[in-house]
Subunit: 328 residues, 2 copies
């Protein structure tokens, strides 16, 4: 009997979803992908986005399947489909209503960022000049997320909010898509202090493949990424490393403007909108995901370590994190 | 080993919920109660009502428990708590959005009436002068309810809509709270033709204990109700009979006005609002539920038939009906 194929899991994507992309996931053998359901949407439009996903799951049931629980992940894997895990990059969908954590959890949301780039009701994003940490509502929401089995994601949070949240959460948290600041100096990436605290809590860092987070932007080599991964593994432990590619395949530039400014501000008149940078040549779609293994092996990772980084660590973390914990 | 106690299930209540009422349910040994979550609420306020129920379920977890599935019902029974089954008396909460059937199903809604008293987007209530039957959207919603495991409830629907829906549904439907028109002549009760069609489909009739639906209003005797039950059992088969008391304990009269007029009309200025009639003396709270057995036995029902009417039939129906059916 051949050994079971190790899982391949991407800890974040926000593509312009289509059957063609689901076919690429399938061809690549992706076990699961955490997909962003909403950025700046309030509750009601988020429900619309979830409904759209439910129709997609029915329409493309030969390729993708729900990824709400450990059982779902196992079922998708057993049937050779990609489990789709829902997440929010911003807590706006819960508005100012603690009860909506439970509601959105029941609708399948398994990850929620406490903040996007700026101040939220729960904490502070990395782009604010002042980070006052996790708010009073933020602490109540973290407790409720712990209870529901919704993972606290700190990818876009500021340093103080991130450290506060790691300490406040009774269950391991994640930075689903970011890199070390020591490799690419941007506050969007994470300091060694944060990465150490994340690892000590049992959380996962998903290494980002998004050009803005990479040392040399679109020209970053796979070798450079994987050397960084090796150094980061020494800092956080290889069992706490995964991939969160932040792949935004086929998205128009208008989506980038929506991500940046939502409705909360406006670009000054005449300002050109932001544009997506090109992806590095070695990661343009899910088809390139399995090939990351070559780079990781060349950087000195053992085969079981490569398997952990490309999916095993996320699978363990997701299976543990997605179950409700009534005692939390 | 003593035989397990037969289940006690009420197929509809809309009380002014309080710990005192949950304690009465517990004292009576109620296995499950279908509770009305919304009448004239749109989607967003319905979510607020569901959130209120989630807090109630946590606050009173020693007395009540979720009743979303056969497994939930069994778990509540095993722990001596009353399973709370969520239902809607009106399809307004799904607005004009087919996707919200799935969403509300995931939030625990297990019963939905196609209509309240008047015209809905899905069909026609018993108070309209003309009943044009199940609409085009109604047919799509029935199909989706069948898929999700949300029971089609026709208690307040007009004759034609009720017959159309029984024929359109691939799974058994219910009239959760009504009586035969032959006993109390009101269009809110059901004709023999409807009752026969309901039974042929495998559906359940929950006999109502609400004064307006009773032959002699508040003065109706338990003996009269149970004699009617015996005649109805001959018509529909005893296995298709249950209780749906429509108990509105402790509700102020203002709630009755809300039920009748919602926001869709207004009472003419100066018109006194409707008032609740008194309950019959033999059914004023859940504490009186087990005592219905005495009347049923006196009317000639065998012990296993009594057990079926007071809970066994609902339990079988709920366990079969609440599971999703992806092939529907």
């Amino acid at each position: 009997m051949p050994a079971p194929r190790p899982p391949l899991i991407d800890g974040l994507q926000f593509c312009n979803w289509s059957r063609a992309i689901f076919e690429q996931m399938h061809q690549a053998g992706m076990t699961a992908v955490h997909v962003t359901v909403a950025y700046h949407e309030g509750f009601r439009p988020t429900v619309d986005r979830i409904v759209e996903w439910q129709w997609r799951l029915r329409e493309h049931a030969d390729l993708i399947a729900p990824g709400n629980s450990a059982a779902d992940l196992a079922a998708a894997e057993a049937t050779g489909r990609t489990a789709i895990v829902f997440g929010l990059q911003n807590p706006l969908p819960i508005e100012d209503d603690l009860g909506l954590v439970d509601v959105l959890s029941r609708l399948g949301i398994r990850f929620m960022q406490l903040t996007y780039n700026n101040q939220s009701l729960l904490g502070c994003g990395w782009m604010e000049p002042e980070d006052s940490g996790v708010t009073t509502m933020g602490r109540a929401v973290i407790r409720e997320m712990n209870r529901c089995g919704m993972v606290v994601d700190l990818s876009h949070s500021g340093e103080r909010t991130t450290l506060d949240a790691i300490a406040a959460s009774h269950r391991p948290v994640t930075v689903s898509h970011a890199n070390p600041q020591s490799w690419k100096a941007t506050l969007r990436n994470k300091s060694d202090k944060v990465l150490r605290a994340l690892a000590e809590s049992g959380g996962i860092l998903g290494l980002s493949l998004y050009p803005v987070h990479l040392a040399d932007g679109p020209d970053t080599t796979l070798a450079s990424l994987c050397e960084m991964a090796a150094r980061t593994a020494e800092l956080v432990g290889v069992q706490n490393l995964g991939i969160g590619s932040d792949l935004c395949q086929n998205q128009p530039d208008s989506v980038l403007e929506w991500m940046r400014v939502g409705r909360w501000t406006r670009l000054p008149p005449g300002t050109p909108g932001p544009k997506f940078q090109a992806q590095p040549v070695w990661f343009r779609s899910n088809l390139d995901f399995p090939g990351l293994a070559t780079g990781l092996r060349a950087a000195g990772f053992a085969p079981d370590e490569v398997a952990g980084i490309l999916g095993g660590n996320w699978r363990r973390f997701m299976a543990e994190s997605f179950a409700p914990d009534p005692s939390a």
